[in-house]
Amino acid sequence: MSRKIIPIGPYHPLQDEPEFFKLHVDGETVVDIDIELGYNHRLIEKISESKNFDQVAFMVERICGICSTSHPFAYVNAIDDLLGVKPPERALYIRTAIAELERIHSHLLWLGLAGHFLGYNTVWMWAWRYREPVLDIFERVTGNRQNYGMMKPGGVRRDMFEEDFPWIKKTLKDLIPKLDMFKGAIMDDPVIRMRTEGVGVLTKEDARDYGLVGPTARASGVNIDIRRDDPYAAYDKVEWQVCTHEGGDVFSKAVVRILELYQSINIVIQCLDKMPKGPIDSGIKDIPPGEGIGRHEAPRGEVVHYIMADGGNSPARHKIRAPSFMNVASNKKAVIGETISDATIILAAVDPCYCCTERMAVVDYKTGKKMMDGQDLIKLSQEKTEKIKNKLGR
């Protein structure tokens, strides 16, 4: 059968995007996949060398919109590691609460998108509707829905006030019944199970070989979580467990993320209960020469920041490694052999940042005309859901 490979399709504005997957298609099944990065590369590591230590925290927030407190958290851990100083107790609790709140809103966003790709637009609208109260909490505590600017080398920038706590706890507790409804909708729905089980499977060896991190690795049974293995902030002072699943396919990735939502909610509530009084910033003045490594468990996986300071007031070298850098490479293994209509949901399962997932293009080789673009693939996967729904006589 003629293998269709990908010349550049006709240009339209949707194609200018951070990641661009080109699927080599043989009839219905995907034979090979090209992953092209760099459309959105802003050489942040170069810019951070021209900013002083305090400004870098703000700039690092703008790397990815959805996990906008993960990078500053890792960066701040790196500075604390470099100095060997431990921020005050209260700051640790505030950092943990903010990071977990962001995990909630990031997973809900992913849940909505996964529903959209599977053809359930109502799941999309509902998931994003339940996400709004979490953003309200952020707005009240930090002043902004995203890009909160909370993390500061040696502490936290703003304090959390006691009178907000009851309201925050109530909002989060209201979220739990809705999450149960979502858990029911996702895990017991035969159509979704049929669409996501056994699709895009990554075994334990793959996870180790590709160095997978975060929910993508935990879904393949690899029991790693930076919050428990290399405890930082207040994660060792709060009871919670790591949720893993054995399947390794898209379904187990969804299950892992939903269970993590429950864990995050009870972490935040515990943080608010146990938060001690006291200062929130240890007032770091200057950074001596040296190097530090900071790690944080972002919603998508482990973020690593490596800082090398040469005594000046800006970092000599700032290496950033985002979790998607490792997870997206695993798509090569997960997508090959699957049909085109499943391609969207597999690529979305590793939850790369929002605008990367719809950037797939399948172009017919001979005519060079655009056969299908990202949205078509979404439609294909929605139709497959439709077919299964009819077959099940729903």
Partner: protein, 304 residues
């Protein structure tokens, strides 16, 4: 002569159908929004869209064949106004009888808007539009077959009457066709074909807005786009009424609730399932729908 002009331009023709079309379009968007907990647009939204489009600049791409690109929307619009006259008059005006065989003329006129879209899309020279046009052609071929087959059922049941007004009188005398078993099957098949003809969600692969960037209408803007939108709105009025005259004893101003029921059915179908891929739509129409239509015909012949 002036009465004909009046009929064509004002009463059942152009203006009246537009007003009803805007109302049904608005109801459709409002109900869709309410299902998703959204407030939905104000009542004058379709009107405002059309007026706004009229002041926009009309861009004609260099690669397009100018005349065809410019006139194809007109074809669709004129076809729909003609159909609305042929459908409205027999129902309301006891005097005018229409002519024998007008049921076949209406069937052909109803395919003209789709042809206009295909002509316009392929004339615009944009590869995405030609992709949309090829999908539209497949869609037309798919739903025409069951559409015509289920059109034959009322003719058989009324023993070969080819005039709309006669069919209505026949139904008024001895019960609407939809009551009978074969009539009901044909009615359901027609509803699905109507959904495809209107290009609503399950079968709108050709004009998929997020899919191929506006599909067939990608190169259109300004007044031409407004005409296409108008044609679609008027089609949304005319098609359900055509179905009512064939299967449900016609209608007059009092019995517009039948039209409301059909509108609700269309909106429900639109909101409950995702867009179907083009080859699946073709299989759906040529497979299930054609079989159902043939079954209805056989039953009608046996007089069920």
């Amino acid at each position: 002569m002036t009465k004909l002009l009046f009929n064509f331009l004002i009463f059942p023709g152009f203006l009246f159908t537009i007003v009803l079309g805007f109302a049904s379009c608005w109801i459709d968007r409002k109900v869709t929004a309410r299902i998703q907990w959204r407030v939905g647009p104000p009542w004058y939204q379709p009107l405002m869209d059309i007026i706004k489009l009229s002041i926009k600049e009309i861009t004609i791409p260099r690669t397009a064949s100018k005349e065809l690109f410019f006139f194809s929307p007109m074809i669709g619009l004129s076809a729909v106004t003609l159909v609305s006259i042929l459908v409205w008059l027999p129902n309301i005006d006891p005097v005018s009888k229409g002519f024998s065989g007008d049921i076949i003329v209406v069937a052909y006129l109803l395919t003209l808007p789709a042809i206009a879209i295909i002509l316009g899309a392929s004339a615009s020279g944009n590869p995405l539009a030609s992709l949309g046009a090829s999908r539209e052609i497949k869609m037309v071929m798919a739903y025409e077959l069951p559409f015509i087959l289920s059109l034959i059922v009322p003719i058989i049941k009324s023993h070969g009457l080819l005039r709309l007004s006669d069919i209505i009188n026949y139904q008024v005398l001895n019960g609407s066709f939809a009551a009978s078993f074969s009539g009901m099957i044909a009615f359901i098949v027609m509803i699905f074909c109507m959904q495809a003809k209107l290009g609503l969600v399950p079968f709108d692969a050709s004009e998929a807005e997020t899919e191929i960037m506006g599909g067939v209408f990608i190169e259109y803007s300004g007044m031409l786009l407004a005409i296409f939108k108008l044609t679609k709105a008027m089609l949304m009025v005319v098609l359900p009424l055509f179905l009512i005259t064939l299967f449900w004893q016609g209608f007059n101003f009092l019995s517009l609730w039948k039209y409301a029921i059909l509108l609700v059915i269309i909106i429900l179908i639109r909101n409950t399932n995702p867009r179907v891929r083009i080859d699946q739509a073709v299989r759906f129409f040529w497979g299930k729908m054609t079989l159902l239509a043939i079954l209805a015909i056989l039953l009608a012949i046996k007089g069920m």
